[in-house]
């Protein structure tokens, strides 16, 4: 279990994390979501005792990092994939880590095999692709067979097959009863992988809940309707208390009333329904909507050319 209490951290004038509290439960995958620069990596570094919080505490299984007697064997972390000396082989890198925590040499070969790097174990890590580095980082996190695991963007740079591999690995680790805390930019990926969610924006907690609750409580049931007479149907549905948006192609997005009511109303008004489909809001959309106010760096798609 990971317990974060009132954690705050500033770098000079930059407020990275502010009064953040949440717990990460055992036996499930907890997704850690937030836009760029929202403080995910900073929070993970503080949990691992690397950055010192200005205020608050973070504990792993009840202890702050510096009180853990055998850190690698209690908590494994993948923080930066490239955090490897480019001139050192994967095997030497893992061996050096194993030696600190009295982990048997056989375990090095075992994790190399687990992440599929056995063939290239003696090659310099500097020659590795991003995906291979990511796998080596995962191997080092698993080295001590820890009960608590932190992964900062583990699927960065992986191909679809690699992404599926990570997803299955995380799920099997959670089934073992481990605590899994994983950050990602890809909300859709979290929807597939995680059970619980911690969502932050600008260093502050937005939600600490389950994936299902998160979607349910943050979405309004919407129905897409195409019909023979959009404008008349619009009036009819508005009369029933529906809230309607007309889209460019003439179809209607209706909230507040459900499909049955819409169908019945159309029938009694003599309007032919061509399509009637409930819209499932994706985690992606919910997330975008919720963090819209707390995104630090807005991208823009209609860049104007000034002369």
């Amino acid at each position: 279990m990971i317990d974060v209490k009132n954690l705050s951290k500033s770098y000079g004038k930059t407020r990275a994390v502010h009064d953040l509290s949440f717990t990460v439960e055992t036996g499930v995958i907890t997704g850690f979501l937030g836009p760029n620069g929202s403080g995910k990596s900073t929070t993970m570094r503080m949990i691992m005792g690397l950055d010192r919080p200005n205020r608050g505490t973070a504990t792993i299984n009840g202890k702050p990092f510096h009180e853990i007697k055998w850190p690698l064997r209690e908590v494994g972390a993948l923080l930066e994939a490239k955090a490897i000396h480019p001139g050192r082989s994967a095997r030497s890198h893992l061996t050096s880590l194993a030696q600190t925590n009295a982990i048997p040499k056989a375990r090095v070969d075992e994790v190399l095999d687990l992440v599929g790097l056995t063939q290239v174990a003696n090659r310099k890590a500097g020659k590795f692709s991003l995906g291979m580095n990511q796998r080596l980082g995962i191997a080092s996190a698993l080295l001590g067979d820890p009960a608590v695991l932190l992964f900062d963007e583990p699927i960065n740079g992986l191909d679809p097959e690699g992404i599926r591999w990570v997803r299955e690995l995380l799920q099997s680790l959670a089934r073992d009863g481990r605590t899994i805390f994983v950050s990602s930019h890809l909300m859709s990926e979290m929807a597939l992988t995680a059970t619980d969610l911690v969502v932050i924006g600008r260093g502050e907690l937005i939600a600490d809940t389950t994936v299902n609750n998160f979607i349910d409580s943050n979405t309004v049931a919407t129905v897409l309707v195409r019909s023979s007479d959009s404008s008349r149907l619009n009036q009819v549905l508005a009369g029933l208390g529906g809230s309607i948006t007309t889209q460019d192609d003439g179809s209607l997005l209706v909230t507040k009333i459900d499909g049955t009511q819409i169908g019945n109303a159309a029938l009694s008004s003599g309007i032919a329904i061509h399509e009637l489909s409930p819209q499932q809001a994706s985690l992606e959309e919910v997330f975008m909507e919720l963090t819209a106010d707390s995104v630090d760096f807005h991208g823009t798609t209609n860049a104007k050319v000034t002369s």
């Binding site: 690397l50 990092f65 690698l72 908590v75 030497s92 600190t100 067979d145």
Partner: protein
């Protein structure tokens, strides 16, 4: 998916300690090629430069002034390879930590130990022991090679029990054996000088974190500081000069009389060792202070 088959030792007893972390640092140290390149240069340049300079000095002995002859120290001169090897020692000492900061590996390293002090202590043990061994090999090889060259150029061995001072006053090139008074100590301290410098450089690496920065300051302390000192009034210059790290190094290997041109400029060998050890300790402790206080 089976994740673990290996039998792991129990975590109920003990904790991460200096022995394991030192083994880890040794693995890191020897598993990158730059280590071996640096060690190779320390030995080769150390011996090579000593041999070359000794050869030149021996060849032009007949044209040398009396002053030059009187101050020629066959032991200190045999260790002149330090000009190069001390710089490479600095690079290696600083890089074993700065390379971790530049790659981000330091975060992985610190996530394996509860106490950061252990990492610093382990790195210190590895670099100091390795450089001491390599430094002694270089020192002894340089010494014997130089005496062979001097002998080949007509150098004459001191009679047993005679001091070097007597010898350098004569016209022929002085040659000593390892058993001549003060010689063994000087050669041993020559290797120790490099080991102490490696600790100083390691401390500097922990403080500065960047490879280029740490190496620049190291070179500055060793080579530029004495030059700057020349611009100060002689009273100040004379009182500060013995404290220059490069002069401490010379003080450790000099065996001739101190009435020569080194008079007043140098501490006695063991005082020099003490002062340099103090420098190394100060840098290392400052490094520890920064390691423990700053974010990784």
């Amino acid at each position: 998916m089976t994740v673990t088959n290996t039998q792991m030792p129990s975590t109920d007893r003990g904790h991460v300690g200096l022995a394991g972390v030192t083994r880890s640092e040794w693995t890191k140290f020897r598993s990158v090629r730059s280590t071996w390149i640096c060690l190779f240069i320390i030995v080769l340049a150390g011996i090579g430069l000593s041999v070359l300079l000794t050869f030149i000095q021996a060849a032009r002995w007949s044209q040398s002034s009396l002053q030059e002859r009187a101050t020629f120290d066959p032991v200190a001169f045999s260790q002149s390879g330090h000009f190069i090897s001390q710089l490479v020692v600095g690079i290696l000492g600083a890089m074993i930590i700065t390379s971790e900061y530049s790659t981000g590996l330091i975060r992985t390293t610190l996530a394996t130990v509860p106490k950061r002090f252990t990492v610093l202590a382990a790195k210190k043990i590895v670099i100091a022991v390795v450089i001491l061994v390599v430094g002694e090999v270089t020192a002894f090889a340089s010494f014997f090679a130089a005496q062979i060259i001097l002998t080949a150029h007509g150098g004459t061995q001191l009679p047993a029990g005679a001091s070097i001072v007597t010898q350098v006053k004569s016209a022929s090139i002085p040659v000593v054996t390892i058993m001549s008074p003060g010689v063994l100590q000087a050669v041993v301290l020559s290797g120790a000088y490099l080991a102490l410098l490696s600790i100083l450089a390691l401390g500097l690496g922990f403080i500065i974190r960047s490879t280029a920065g740490a190496i620049s300051i190291f070179v500055g302390i060793l080579l530029v500081l004495p030059i700057i000192l020349n611009f100060f009034p002689s009273g100040f210059k004379n009182s500060v000069e013995p404290y220059m790290p490069s002069n401490l190094g010379i003080a450790m290997v000099v065996t001739t009389t101190r009435t020569t041109d080194w008079a007043g400029v140098l501490f006695t060998p063991w005082v020099a060792v003490l002062v340099l050890a103090l420098y190394a300790a100060v840098f290392l402790l400052a490094g520890l202070w920064f390691l423990q206080r700053r974010d990784a």
